[in-house]
Symmetry: C2
Subunit: 236 residues, 2 copies
């Protein structure tokens, strides 16, 4: 099924519940993006208070996940969706799990920012974490936009981008090891830097996962091969 057909299908058949559900996912994505960008800002600016605020705000992301999850189960139970409706719900159930885990990583980065703020500051304000952080923020935004527009091409770009994030992460790790060997007193600090980098790299993985769910949602290999699926249209 092509994206345009799927979009038509959605606009004709999805009722307000489904639209609300999609909007909730976008809201959750926006909240997670915000958490991530504040966590990065906390590292770059050495703002311990901001880092701790990000960490303590993670419950908001978790609450949204629980609400959306329950709404998905409710729609599955009461509307018996089939075909593309069903793929959307399954993709949402998976997407919000990844968004929740991006929230967890932002929480960790918030704590690390708070610890780094109390240590020696490098003259470049952790520029390499800022770059990597911006990179994965863009990936996350692109993944959520692709989700909103059911855009397979854009999703493939997100999936490909993850290799570049992994390369950046490897470079940061190698650099940290070099710094630690040169000055063992800096080990604790650079361990925190590598952990922040790893959390960012994981966020890239989660954004990639979301991109893959969009592709599944639009192309839906597994559902379109079941001959019986046409008999089970959702009661719109």
């Amino acid at each position: 099924m092509e994206a345009s057909h799927l979009t038509d299908h959605i606009s004709r058949r999805y009722n307000k519940d489904i639209e609300d559900l999609r909007n909730s996912v976008m809201t959750m994505g926006g909240l997670v993006e915000d958490q991530l960008s504040r966590a990065i800002a906390a590292i770059v600016s050495g703002d311990s208070e901001l880092g701790l605020k990000v960490a303590s705000d993670d419950y908001k992301v978790n609450n949204l996940e629980v609400n959306i999850d329950e709404e998905c189960s409710r729609i599955l139970a009461t509307r018996s969706p089939a075909a593309s409706d069903l793929r959307l719900i399954v993709a949402i159930i998976k997407t919000i799990t990844d968004l929740e885990r991006i929230g967890d990583e932002a929480e960790k980065i918030g704590y690390l920012a708070s610890q780094l703020a109390a240590m020696d500051r490098p003259s470049d304000s952790y520029r390499e974490l800022k770059y990597l952080g911006n990179h994965v923020s863009q990936m996350l935004r692109a993944a959520m936009n692709a989700f909103a527009r059911l855009d397979v091409e854009a999703s493939l770009e997100v999936v490909k981008e993850d290799d570049r994030v992994d390369e950046e992460y490897d470079a940061i790790t190698r650099q940290c090891i070099t710094f630690m060997m040169e000055d063992p007193r800096s080990i604790r600090r650079f361990m925190n830097v590598t952990w922040a980098a790893r959390s960012l790299e994981r966020i890239g993985d989660h954004a990639k996962n979301i991109g893959e769910y969009v592709i599944y949602m639009v192309q839906g290999r597994d559902i379109r091969h079941t001959e019986t699926s046409d008999h089970f249209e959702s009661p719109a």
Copy 2:
């Protein structure tokens, strides 16, 4: 709904498809347990070849995930399951995602084992990784057993156990930092140890997630609060 009622319900209504699906999840769990125990053995015995074999076998886990995922979507589309049937499917969709990610972590541990095998060996054969590894292996097995038996009590134990895993992980990390500071030539090696420890800690997180899905599956707060759910029984 109590566990015993849910079990009765399952035994009466679930057809062979559902039983096969549950068995596939247990098979996937067994494969992942095996991957994990071989990855730990590769670290402890310094067996580079075994480590690489674990890493190259990860595709088997991935294949099982895709197959089970497609089967879940097929059952959702063709049987329109409601209530406990639906919660089982949703829990399976989530469980196999966590199992697949445990497989990814085992793959990483396999690579790390291969790298550690080429470096200086400590006299204790990385005893702390062996302990942590056995700990999370037990958690994973307990989570899968709880899944098989729909055992909420056992699931709660798994969830609680994760705190002890986190403590062990923190202790290993602190120890590694101490060793690195004492002997900067060991930094690269102990970075690998901390990464292996972190992968094991993540596996504990995933086992905890599976425990939480079992609780959701049995207690199903979100479904049992919808008044309409009784009108949508699955066509057994």
